[in-house]
Amino acid sequence: MVGSEYVEMIPSPDKTIWSAEVNGSAVDVLAPSNAILLDVLRNQVGTLGVKRGCDLGTCGCCTVMIDGSPRLSCLCLAGQVQGTSIITVEGLSEGAHLAPIQSCFSKHGGSQCGFCTPGFLISAQALLNENDAPTHQEIACAIEGNLCRCTGYQQIIDSIQAAASIHRGETMPDAPASDPHPDPHPSGPEEPNMPPGHAR
């Protein structure tokens, strides 16, 4: 931002109550009436998983699901989406259960630096909600609005395909990492579990 005149972002004098359902809970926050949805989500609601990458709707990092469809929160005035149901990356998992799309991104290398990941997850989840057997081309079209600089997209597409397979019920999802361990206080295995290659 350079130039002789800086655009002043005068906070509108009338802060208004902005209410919506974010990740399943009703949220009422006081926000400037001209606020951008991305700012409200990050600064007022506190869902910092929604990332700011470009402010121009070009990178897709700020993608959130509004009433089920993926939208760029940086191009959306908060006032426009009053009363809608918004899902951010924080709302994908069910308690400690990572959503299949999340565990698959983790497992198949869909996330490297991870900054674009929340946006990709939302775009991909929106696709899987509609279509649990997407083709390569359908996946590409669903994530075309998201830029990733690390992965070259290939492992992201692999991850989405793996998640689709869980959605179709062909593969079982993983148990959450925070589940009670089968043996919480073992002192390490004691039983002689004969290793191969080491005959007496």
Binding site: L56, C59, C116, T117, L147
Partner: protein
């Protein structure tokens, strides 16, 4: 386990006496901690234990010094990044996600002028604005800093003059962003506009007001920041060339394009310590620079590396905004957060240098490469950054993987009034590599040979030395070339595809860790240090400064420790965020982390392992040589039933001492020549890669589509194939952007016109070809378990592979990057005018008729294949230096064998007239030689 843990040793008996009274101190208490989540020991995974130590993992490149530390636990397995669950749930905290209580927002005033002197700054009106809490200008810190100690030329904010549009002038912190933005309008600044320089060629000339002044080391009155001359080898070989290639390249500057804009949070705590949160690849440099700029000792600063949303070299300089945040926090006593918008990311830049490169090369009648002549003029922008090194890398990293008769390089980096260029993935090597590989393709065509065979017959073998003295250890170049040839069906496609379809080859060579740590003598202080602590619970805490920028360095360190100690990876906890807790580490640049930190980690883990094995020896009575360390259990080699759990042995080892602590360090071996600049490009190991790309070119519109890439990369040993493949595909993506669409566009007025992600064209998912990653494992003798880098090298070959494929498709050599449709279309227009045809669809496709040299090359390649295999497996340990191919004896210094063998770092006076564009910098004298001011 029987007995359990008792408060007193040996107290497995009843806790009450015969008379019924309780015995004090004999109550059972729960065993401390766990031995991991799985109650059953996993059997040894022989598929991941090398053949040389009794496993089944094949070792085509021979055994490795770390083989005995292998337990088959994690190395070589596809393991998700250990921090990926935080990333997929939105819980990873990047720069702007650090929200401290009572924070205020900082904003930076940036220069609207390309080049101007600041006559005065009046901040009265800013300070009077309600809500403004602190203001800082250049006057607050006169100290210079810079990433390299030899070129400190930056200030936190402009002192005296601004050097490019977007240069920092002042900063302000206010209660909210809106107030801070409003305050930026209230600075009253008096400017004196100076004449800017934008064209790097003009930067070579004398000017009234050079952008920086280096005193007695300044080159006349030019804007040349660094000039390099290197000449090695037998120059008489190039006098009678059999084949030649000569090309002049113009390459646009490109940006890293990481998705996370820079952000920083500074908090000067009440004890007078600065806590600085920043997404940095190299927190240690920031640490040093902060100390200089702020006049506080380093121990009073804690640099906390947040998660880094992509770095690629763009977050490896200490940045002025980090100083600004610290100054504002010092003034206000409150945490200050500064976040860039996307435009500011381009003003701070540090992307790849816009370059003018000229490459001449020649081959003799045996198709040996008799000489590379490279001239690189690179546009450094307003500051030095890593440019000193880049100036060398543009030449010296082109000296391998081929054996050369001679090498001649002139390079110059000039300051211009544009945002500073710096280090970017494939630092300095990418542009010249592209030019060189395309030149080889052209020479192959002149000699009527297959370009892959030309390369195969001219490779340096493993365990050899390059012409400038780099020590090559493992070298998988040959396998890489062979595998992409086979995978792509090269022999049925090359020069046989119809017009508009093409296939091309490119190779790459890159350092795996820079041989010299920038700030200290490598003989006196190690490159990397890793601390390990194992406490009662059995979990392993690792302290390292390795900066994970998404490449998975944390995972790599955790993996090698898990491997050595045979523990599940979830038992390894890597702490790498804070400079307070991590040992000094140079961070993530020069592809050093896996090589150096994992090596240090292995050393530390081996120390812990020895302690645990010794404890097991005490318990079991068998010497550690006869013990097997397996998944959380140590047992007697010849009778697995005799064993002890990891935790029991650990507790035995902890008797008297408490938690086990070990420290491991990595130091590179002494290497390299003694000539000026010999240290540039030195590395303990080098990676090699080779790609074949297939493209479709629309001859009517000039649009290029890359459809398939076969990407073979020699990473020594893939510690984590999932991560290596991710790096290879990601490198392809970034290189493809540079060759096809990405460029920083500067207008006629010198203004950057596309400082946003809409006009700066990063390939989207639709532009990505299918990439077939092929991992070559040459097992580096000094790498951790044989590993070398995989993060930067894989970027190099994609550029020339695509450019060569475009030639194969339409028969036109293009030497302007990026190959946007307008560049390609202009090339097509020129070609049809020259060939006097009307329709571009009538363009002739290039065809190859093998000449007499082809058979000779194939024979030589076959012979070399045998030689390389023997050397790789160290069955042949005879010395080999660059020049043996030309008949020289490797045992006698080449200077003694060849009259006129050159090792020059300055041109002879009679050479001056013939030097290339960048070489013209050698026509100037330094101030001290001119009797100028000191």
């Amino acid at each position: 386990m029987t007995g359990g843990y008792r408060q007193q040793p040996g107290g497995a008996g009843p806790t009450t006496r015969k008379d019924g009274k309780r015995v004090a101190g004999k109550q059972a208490f729960p065993p401390p901690g766990s031995g991991g989540s799985d109650p059953v020991m996993k059997p040894r995974d022989l598929d991941f234990i090398p053949e040389s130590v009794g496993g089944k993992e094949p070792q085509p490149a021979g055994s490795h010094i770390h083989d005995r530390a292998r337990t088959g636990t994690t190395v070589g397995k596809e393991i998700p990044l250990v921090d990926s669950n935080a990333k997929v749930t939105g819980q990873a905290w990047y720069g702007d996600d650090v929200r401290l209580p009572n924070e205020i927002i900082g904003k930076i005033l940036r220069s609207p002028h390309h080049y101007a002197r600041i006559k005065s700054i009046d901040t009265t009106r800013v300070e009077a604005l309600p809500g403004v809490i602190a203001v800082a200008t250049g006057e607050d810190s006169p100290h210079r800093f810079g990433v390299l100690p030899v070129t400190k030329d930056e200030h936190a904010m402009a002192v005296e003059k601004v050097r490019h549009v977007g240069d920092l002038v002042a900063c302000v912190a206010a209660i909210d962003e809106a107030t801070a933005m409003a305050a930026l309008n209230l600075f009253d600044i008096e400017w004196e506009i100076l004449e800017p320089v934008f064209d790097p060629k003009k930067g070579l000339e004398d000017t009234d007001e050079p952008i920086h002044w280096r005193g007695k080391y300044h080159l006349a009155r030019t804007n040349v920041q660094k000039r390099v001359f290197q000449e090695f080898g037998d120059r008489s070989l190039v006098e009678t060339p059999h084949a030649e290639s000569h090309g002049k390249w113009s390459m646009a500057g490109v940006h890293h394009g990481f998705t996370e804009p820079h952000a920083v949070v500074a908090h000067w705590d009440p004890n007078g310590r600065l806590q600085l949160y920043t997404p940095q690849q190299v927190p240690h440099y920031t640490h040093r620079a902060l100390s200089t700029v702020l006049d506080v000792p380093m121990h009073q600063i804690n640099v906390i590396r947040t998660f880094v949303g992509g770095g690629f070299g763009g977050k490896s300089d200490p940045f002025p905004h980090e100083m600004c945040a610290a100054m504002l926090s010092r003034k206000s006593g409150r945490p200050v957060r500064i976040t860039f918008d996307r435009e500011e990311v381009y003003w701070i830049n540090r992307g790849r240098h816009p370059s003018h490169i000229e490459v001449k090369m020649s081959a003799d009648e045996d198709a040996r490469i008799s000489g590379f002549d490279i001239d690189a003029l690179i546009d450094g922008g307003g500051f030095a950054s890593f440019g000193h090194v880049t100036s060398y890398y543009n030449g010296v990293l082109a000296t391998a993987p081929y054996e050369l008769g001679s090498f001649h390089y002139t390079g110059a980096r000039v300051w211009t009034n544009k945002p500073a260029s710096g280090a970017m993935r494939g630092h300095g090597a990418v542009n010249t590599r592209c030019a060189v590989e395309v030149g080889l393709d052209e020479m192959a065509e002149t000699m009527q040979v297959d370009p892959i065979d030309l390369r195969l017959a001219n490779l340096l073998p493993p365990h050899s030395r390059t012409i400038t003295g780099f020590r090559i250890t493992s070298n998988g170049m040959r396998q890489a070339l062979e595998q992409v040839r086979e995978g792509s069906n090269w022999d049925t496609k090359f020069r046989q595809l119809p017009l508009g379809k093409g296939i091309g080859i490119g190779c790459g060579f890159f350092i795996s860790g820079s041989g010299l740590p920038i700030h200290w003598d490598p003989n006196r202080f190690p490159h990397a240090t890793v601390h390990i602590q194992v406490d009662m619970d059995g979990g392993v805490t690792v302290h390292t400064g390795a900066a994970d920028i998404g490449q998975g360095s944390t995972t790599a360190v955790a993996q090698v420790i898990a491997e050595v100690l045979a523990l599940p990876i979830e038992m390894i906890h890597v702490r790498s965020h804070e400079s307070d807790t991590s040992p000094v580490d140079l961070g993530s640049y020069s592809s050093r982390v896996t090589f150096m930190n994992a090596n240090a980690a292995i050393r530390a883990a081996l120390e812990i392992r020895d302690k645990i094995l010794n404890a097991a020896w005490e318990i079991l009575g068998y010497h550690p040589d006869n013990l097997v360390l397996n998944d959380r259990r140590i047992y007697y080699k010849h009778d697995p039933a005799i064993g002890v759990s990891y935790l029991k042995a650990l507790h035995k080892a902890q008797e008297d001492k408490g938690s086990l602590i070990a420290s491991g360090a990595y130091r590179s071996p002494p290497m390299g020549g003694v000539h000026k600049g010999a240290a540039a490009g030195l590395a303990p190991a080098y990676s090699f890669s080779s790609y074949v790309a297939e493209v479709d070119v629309d001859v009517e519109t000039g649009i290029i589509r890359c459809t398939n890439v076969w990407a073979a990369h020699d990473c020594g040993k893939a510690l984590n194939p999932l991560a290596v493949k991710g790096q290879i595909i990601g490198s392809c993506h970034m290189g493809l952007g540079q060759v096809l669409s990405e460029q920083m566009v500067y207008g006629r007025t010198g203004h950057l016109q596309n400082a946003n992600l809409l006009d700066y064209k990063i390939p989207s998912v639709h532009e990505m070809p299918h990439v077939e990653p092929i991992i070559i494992e040459s097992s580096d003798p000094e790498g951790p378990f044989g590993a070398k880098e995989a993060g930067e090298g894989p970027l190099l070959p994609i550029l020339p592979a695509v450019v060569n494929a475009v030639y194969d498709a339409i028969g036109i050599r293009l030497r302007t990057l990026p190959l946007t449709p307008d560049v390609v279309f202009k090339g097509i227009e020129r070609a049809i005018r020259k060939l006097k045809i009307d329709d571009p669809c009538d363009l002739p496709s290039p065809r190859l008729e093998h000449g007499p040299l082809q058979a000779k090359l194939v024979a030589r390649a076959t012979e070399h294949n045998v030689r390389d295999r023997a050397r790789q497996r160290t069955e042949d340990t005879s010395p080999y230096v660059n020049g043996v191919l030309f008949g020289f004896d490797p045992n006698i210094p080449l200077e003694d064998q060849v009259e006129g063998w050159r090792t020059a770092t300055e041109p002879d006076p009679e050479q001056l007239a013939a030097l290339g564009l960048a070489g013209r910098a050698w026509l100037k004298k330094e101030q001290r030689q001119m009797g100028g001011e000191n």
